[in-house]
């Protein structure tokens, strides 16, 4: 009995060893030879222009950049449940960037998530979406990236928990979750919807944030666009379960993505980068993206339309007093009246700064209050530049308890949804997030 157990163990060990060996052999990817960096004159100007638009759609600069850093030089931590991954320097610096990458190496990285030197790349880089782009489009992005200003900057090493710091395991992840198939247009749909699908599912990688992820960090494709997270923010559902007070239409999405109608909604948090980048993109593509995303949710159900009607009536509630003396009581009402109503108030909305009507705000309608807490604490900056504060943050004015009281009041006053139960937890999460960011900024302030 004892002998046979040992035998079994030996056989199991041998099988494991052979299996591991085979896996390692199978997971190997060759290094591709480095090249001398390509000169700008080698690229067709029309290809460069197209690459600039596609890189903007792909929002590359949002991750491959740190706060106030050089564009595309990377160094930004991407927090994942498995630890922090630092975005890489993708400027054409030959040593610290990708100046030594051939077009073939770049195409392989975008399609298969493999670095020029053969290392597997973590799927924080959304190659599961990039893989849907056409060869021509990837070549255009390559031309654009290779003609950026080189930055000689070494980015920090990743800070991942064992065993996820072993890159070869990513090969197994790809086997399970990477669909290498090309994008196939749906002949029953319009050209605009197909263009939108191609961009949204591919380069724009909307699902990377707006689709929930499984335990291995892959998108749950059976719950596509059911809502996810991004950098501590809620990326709301884009499908029929969207928290929006009034269902999105293609036109409204277009206005939002173009930042042209701030009364109906303005991008905050990580979405602000998307809107900033989309300003570089032809209007036809933004229309196509809007049309496709609106179609994900489909036509609103009767229940959905009823919710929208109630919210619209609430939004027009001009008669509703919002001072502390209106009988709703509590410190939240007074804080709203003294800090928010100047811009958001039903009676006092300033023509020069038409702030979002809070009865139509999605941030007050999500299941958890994280986005509302982050907006109240940190404010909203204009996606387009430094000189426009839009909404100031209140983290230095309001205490945690006061923010909790305010958020409770806003949820009760501007929606008919049940009260939030986890506001203090959400405030704690937001503070963790901005203490990391403040350290980053203070380091620069002192520099």
């Amino acid at each position: 009995m004892r002998l046979s157990l040992t035998k079994i163990l030996v056989v199991v060990a041998a099988v494991l060893a052979v299996g591991t060996g085979l896996f390692l052999y199978w997971a190997r990817e060759p290094a591709l030879a480095p090249i001398t960096p390509v000169q700008r004159s080698a690229f067709d100007p029309a290809l460069l222009r197209k690459g600039a638009e596609l890189a903007a759609i792909a929002n590359c600069s949002a991750c491959h950049n740190k706060h106030d850093g050089q564009p595309y030089a990377g160094g930004r931590p991407i927090e994942t449940p498995f630890g922090a991954i630092f975005s890489t320097n993708i400027t054409p610096d030959p040593k610290t960037g990708i100046g030594g990458w051939s077009e073939a190496a770049f195409v392989r990285a975008m399609r298969e998530g493999v670095s020029r030197d053969g290392r597997h790349l973590y799927p924080a880089f959304p190659y599961d979406h990039m893989a849907k782009a056409t060869d021509n489009d990837i070549r255009a992005v390559y031309a654009f990236i290779m003609t950026r200003e080189p930055a000689h900057i070494t980015t920090p090493p990743n800070d991942l928990h064992f065993p996820l710091n072993i890159r070869v395991l990513i090969a197994g992840w790809k086997l399970l979750f990477l669909d290498r198939g090309a994008f196939r247009p749906d002949p029953s749909k319009t050209a605009e919807l197909n263009r939108g699908a191609y961009l949204v599912e591919g380069l724009a990688h909307c699902g990377a944030c707006h689709t929930p992820r499984n335990l291995l960090g892959a998108e749950k494709l059976d719950q596509a666009y059911a809502g996810g997270t991004s950098d501590g923010w809620i990326a709301p559902a884009l499908n029929a379960s969207s928290p929006a007070a009034v269902p999105w239409t293609a036109d409204r999405l277009h206005a939002y993505l173009r930042d042209s109608d701030r009364v109906r909604g303005v991008a905050a948090g990580p979405m602000s980068d998307v809107v900033r980048n989309l300003a570089q993109v032809p209007d036809a593509d933004v229309h196509a993206i809007s049309a496709y995303v609106a179609a994900i949710a489909g036509a609103p159900s009767p229940e959905r339309r009823e919710i929208a009607e109630r919210a619209t009536v609430r939004a027009q509630g001009k008669a509703k007093a919002t001072s502390s003396s209106d009988g709703t009581g509590g410190p939240g009402a007074a804080i709203y009246a003294g800090a928010c109503a100047q811009c958001h108030g039903e009676t006092g909305r300033h023509p020069a700064l038409p702030a979002v009507n809070l009865a139509l705000s999605s941030a007050l309608r999500t299941a958890e209050p994280d986005n509302a807490v982050r907006i109240v604490r940190g404010g909203i900056r204009s996606p387009h530049g430094q000189g426009e504060p839009l909404m100031p943050g209140f983290r230095d004015v309001l205490s945690d308890e006061q923010i909790i009281a305010l958020l409770g009041y806003l949820r009760a006053h501007f929606t008919d949804l049940p009260p939030w139960t986890g506001i203090s937890e959400s405030v704690r999460r937001a503070k963790q997030g901005d203490s990391a960011m403040r350290t980053d900024q203070e380091a620069e302030t002192k520099a």
Binding site: S323, A334, G338, Q342, G387, F394, V397, L398, Q402
Partner: protein, 163 residues
């Protein structure tokens, strides 16, 4: 009744809970340095410090600030004994119409509280929320640098930064 700590003194004011701090400072406490510019937290003319951090007092209800330390321009010195930022702004003649200057000085004070020798890039980034319609920004930046120097010299002569 709202009890506020303003410039180190405890002050009691009879104001509604939603009254902005700016109105309390100007109308009840006769501290008129902070100005009403836009009333929307967009221009910075009303900037004061709360626990050392710059805030827009036009959109900060006074009632939420009980127990916190409020500092206004009047708290940084007097006409007879001007503070380092006052002196630097006068010597650089940084004011044109002067409406934004109290806010500018308060925001600059917040920076100099934590950074003894800010570079011009840091000053520019830090001062960005405050607007000046006359265009004296170049003198304002010079004044902030000069004030930083005064503060460093004062610290060196008393040895207070060696602790």
């Amino acid at each position: 009744m709202i009890t506020l700590n303003v410039n180190g003194q405890s002050r009691q004011v009879d104001a509604d809970a939603d009254t902005p701090l700016l109105y309390v400072l100007r109308d009840d406490l006769a501290l008129n340095a902070a100005k009403f510019g836009c009333g929307l937290g967009q221009c910075g003319a009303c900037t004061v410090l709360v626990d050392g951090h710059p805030i827009f007092s036009c959109i900060a209800p006074a009632s939420v600030l009980e127990g916190r330390k409020v500092t206004t321009l009047e708290g940084l010195g007097t006409p007879d004994a001007p503070g380092p930022l006052h002196r630097a702004f006068i010597e650089e003649q940084a004011a044109q119409c002067g409406f934004c200057i109290a806010g500018m000085i308060m925001r600059a004070q917040a920076l100099l509280n934590t950074n003894k020798e800010p570079t011009e890039a840091v000053i520019r980034r830090h001062m960005e929320p405050n607007l000046c319609r006359c265009g004296t920004h170049i003198r304002i930046i010079r004044a902030v640098k000069r004030a930083a120097e005064y503060m460093r010299n004062a610290a060196a002569s008393t040895g207070s930064d060696r602790t």
